[in-house]
Point group: C2
Chain length 253, copies 2
């Protein structure tokens, strides 16, 4: 039996305010929690069904965690998933201090006010696939520790670091030798442009694109060539899709 106080504590982590107050967030589901326990992140609590606890004793004991056994009913009460999946963990929010090595390192991503949690999670997962280790987010960008974001990353939150910062100031401070790429409707054809790494790729807001503070800091404007047709065309690609196409090509270049 878990206490009402504990249920309340976990529930409070659904909201940004609760997470900031407690310095913790929630990660759920078998695969996600196993990846979490193999990572450098500090897990403070694991609540799980009995079979999961037995099967994953190695993992939890290595991190000196004593899992709390809960019933399926209790898991349903605390889980935020539509289909609860065996285990829920409470994790300390890490404090990263990105140094110069992080900034100059290969392929980097900056997010200027991405709002949708699903998009943010998918962007983090995609960045992980293409070897991006650091994502620099404007302060208005959705919170990576929102449970929906964590879920959508499919475990990639354990490998990719998100830094919330004054994005204008940060990009201005970059070495001039690092190109800053951004997508604009009238930009140069992605596949024709001369690209180089290390680089910083900036992705803008879902409906307004890259904002007026960041726009003048872009050193090369790119566009993803589509097909115009007589019946009309979509105004833009989804922000996460654009991120995928741009990262794939930058990585290949």
């Amino acid at each position: 039996m878990i206490s009402t106080a504990l249920i309340k504590h976990i529930r409070s982590l659904e909201r940004r305010k609760g997470r900031q107050e407690h310095g913790s967030f929630i990660a759920e589901g078998d695969k996600t929690v196993r990846e979490l326990l193999e990572s450098d992140l500090k897990t403070t609590m694991v609540l799980a069904l009995e079979p999961w606890i037995r099967e994953n004793e190695n993992l939890t004991s290595r991190q000196s965690i004593q899992p709390i056994r809960i019933s399926e009913k209790e898991l349903e009460r605390i889980s935020l998933l539509k289909t609860p999946n065996q285990v829920l963990a409470v994790v300390n929010i890490p404090r990263y201090d990105p140094g110069p090595a992080d900034l100059n390192n290969n392929l980097n991503l900056a997010l200027d006010n991405i709002q949708d949690p699903g998009n943010l999670g998918t962007i983090i997962r995609t960045a992980d696939w293409f070897g991006v280790r650091n994502i620099f987010c404007s302060k208005e960008t959705a919170d990576i520790y929102n449970p929906k974001v964590i879920q959508a990353t499919m475990g990639s939150f354990t490998r990719v670091r998100c830094h919330y910062t004054d994005l204008g100031e940060f990009i201005s401070s970059l070495d001039d030798s690092i190109p800053v790429y951004g997508a604009f409707p009238e930009g140069e054809d992605l596949y024709e442009a001369k690209l180089s790494l290390p680089a910083m790729l900036v992705i803008g807001n879902e409906s307004r694109g890259i904002g007026p503070v960041i726009e003048p800091l872009i050193s090369k404007r790119l566009s993803i060539p589509g097909v115009r047709n007589t019946e009309g065309s979509p105004e833009s690609l989804n922000a996460a899709i654009a991120t995928g196409i741009l990262l794939a090509w930058l990585r290949k270049s």
Copy 2:
């Protein structure tokens, strides 16, 4: 004042059963409904706030539609959006009969059991960007007329046709000269592979990929090169992201 019967009717279109029964679906929001009224789709009803009706008289009268004036409160009651946006339309589900010209036409997409409505909507929007006119869906694929899918297409449902069909039979019936591409972890590097159009690109289920019925029908297996790193890597890309990267490169090839 709209009647309780009308509210019930609109509500019934949230579910697949109701949509099939009435042969109708819902499209919402200013931009979406304007694109809808400029398309070939048959809109049967428009419910909107007074200012919207005044501003869009040209569009509605061209389609001989008499919009129903509703209050903000009424719109809130019938809307499925978090933030209702001025207008909601009821549309006839179109019946397409894809002919040989559709099949041989340039770049085509097939979806083998895509389940997430957000993914499906984003895939349709992305397909539209890259000039795909026809998407062939397995019968298990999520319903394009689900309001969440319609919303995520951002108007692209008015230009891209989705056909629900026995996908195995359909792909088997294709001319041998049309290559069938699919993504697999051990496939050939996308950027090294010899690709040609017209082609059929198959995208598989979010967690299981391309299923056992379709797998033997793939004529070239492709993979999207990522970066492996010592801390582990994501198992896969999100299905919509993979679609974007594959379509972008096929279109460029």
